[in-house]
């Protein structure tokens, strides 16, 4: 019954590896997002998709590649992981791209790069 679910919850990996985080929403929303929360709790948007189309790409290294196979899913693939990629990654969704839309967040994926 979880509205926005992301897996895995924890991910520990070595530098240089490639990893993926999956996200699914069962709310019927059109828009999905990836946010990164650093060690100081600062949240910053990375990507946004609307109906499987990329609409926001915030100066994220091209090692990060989002993929949306359908509007209920937005996965995040990261190549050649670096120490600085360690953070908590949150998936979110909203009904549409309206300015004041409520975002529904997943519970986060804590990525630790060793």
């Amino acid at each position: 019954d979880t509205a926005v679910s992301q897996t895995p919850k924890y991910l520990v990996t070595q530098m240089g590896n490639d990893k993926s985080i999956k996200c699914e929403q069962n709310l019927g929303h059109d828009t999905m997002y990836w946010y990164k929360q650093d060690s100081k709790k600062f949240l910053k948007i990375m990507f946004s998709y609307n109906n499987k189309e990329l609409i926001i790409n915030e100066t994220v290294p091209n090692r990060f590649s989002p993929k949306s196979p359908d509007k209920a899913h937005l996965n995040l693939h990261i190549n050649s992981l670096e120490l600085g990629d360690s953070a908590v990654y949150f998936c979110a969704s909203s009904q549409s791209t309206g300015l004041a839309e409520k975002l529904f967040f997943g519970s986060g994926t804590q990525l630790s790069v060793l």
């Binding site: 926005v4 709790k41 600062f42 949240l43 979110a92 004041a100 409520k102 975002l103």
Partner: protein
Amino acid sequence: AQSVTQLDSHVSVSEGTPVLLRCNYSSSYSPSLFWYVQHPNKGLQLLLKYTSAATLVKGINGFEAEFKKSETSFHLTKPSAHMSDAAEYFCVVSPPGSFQKLVFGTGTRLLVSP
């Protein structure tokens, strides 16, 4: 550029006493403003939002916030704190434009003691 400043990184209150979490915004336009709450190991949840309607906004769990244009503030208040209110609170501004790209404050950790 849009931004928000949360004036306190930590706020400590006793259960049953009022809560005040301060937020100032910077915006060239009439902004949309939000407060989100993050409980430990959980995703963020919307508490309330301001979208240029009533300046006093009521949210969930007894929280409310008042938009004061003259002071560029959007402080979050609650008359009586509960232990369950202990969490991280984020003030958020939504810049104008076609797509939602939330800008988060750095967060305020609310500690509630018995």
